[in-house]
Symmetry: C2
Subunit: 106 residues, 2 copies
């Protein structure tokens, strides 16, 4: 499909998925698909799809118990995002003023 960091970024790039992920993170216990969809204004199937995307990115773990599927968040993959961003921290103070300076010098 695509590389890991892309999967993770795409997973959290969707606002509804960020909401679902957040709900799972702060939940005191694992939540079933039905429990999750009760908290959001989309259908159960819609939630299932989002969960699948999050699971593929490693951000959600699922364990079946009887007919239910319990989901928990796993924040660890977010480390990869932090690592990706870290390289660019050194450029945070490179303002766009530099572009103007460069162009003026031409």
């Amino acid at each position: 499909m695509q590389d890991n960091i892309t999967k993770i970024l795409k997973a959290i790039a969707d606002p509804k998925r960020r909401e679902i992920f957040h709900a799972l993170v702060i939940a005191s216990s694992a939540l079933s698909i039905t429990q999750i969809s009760g908290q959001f204004d989309i259908s159960r199937q819609g939630v299932t799809k989002h969960i699948k995307t999050l699971e593929t990115a490693g951000l959600v773990g699922i364990t079946s118990k009887g007919r239910e599927r319990f989901c928990t968040a796993d924040a660890k993959p977010l480390k990869q995002i932090t690592e990706w961003v870290r390289f660019y921290e050194q450029f945070w103070d490179t303002t766009l003023k530099d572009l103007g300076d460069y162009l003026d010098s031409k």
Copy 2:
């Protein structure tokens, strides 16, 4: 359209846009659209679209000089991602084992 963090995350969720952004960050000077498209295997228009997405996210600044449009990267919006992730750092060590424990206790 959508909120800022979503724009930023969507912008960098695409691998080609990350490549373009990276090329602009490490470039010693501002690059024109044509110069950028010379480095990638997509058309100039394709690059223009990606640049527009990056610009909308605040990750690229553009200044026109004559008929050319010079682009520079601006890493600052990435701070917002770091801030978003920061909240979840406290959960990095909450492993999926907790899910198993929870289910066993039921």
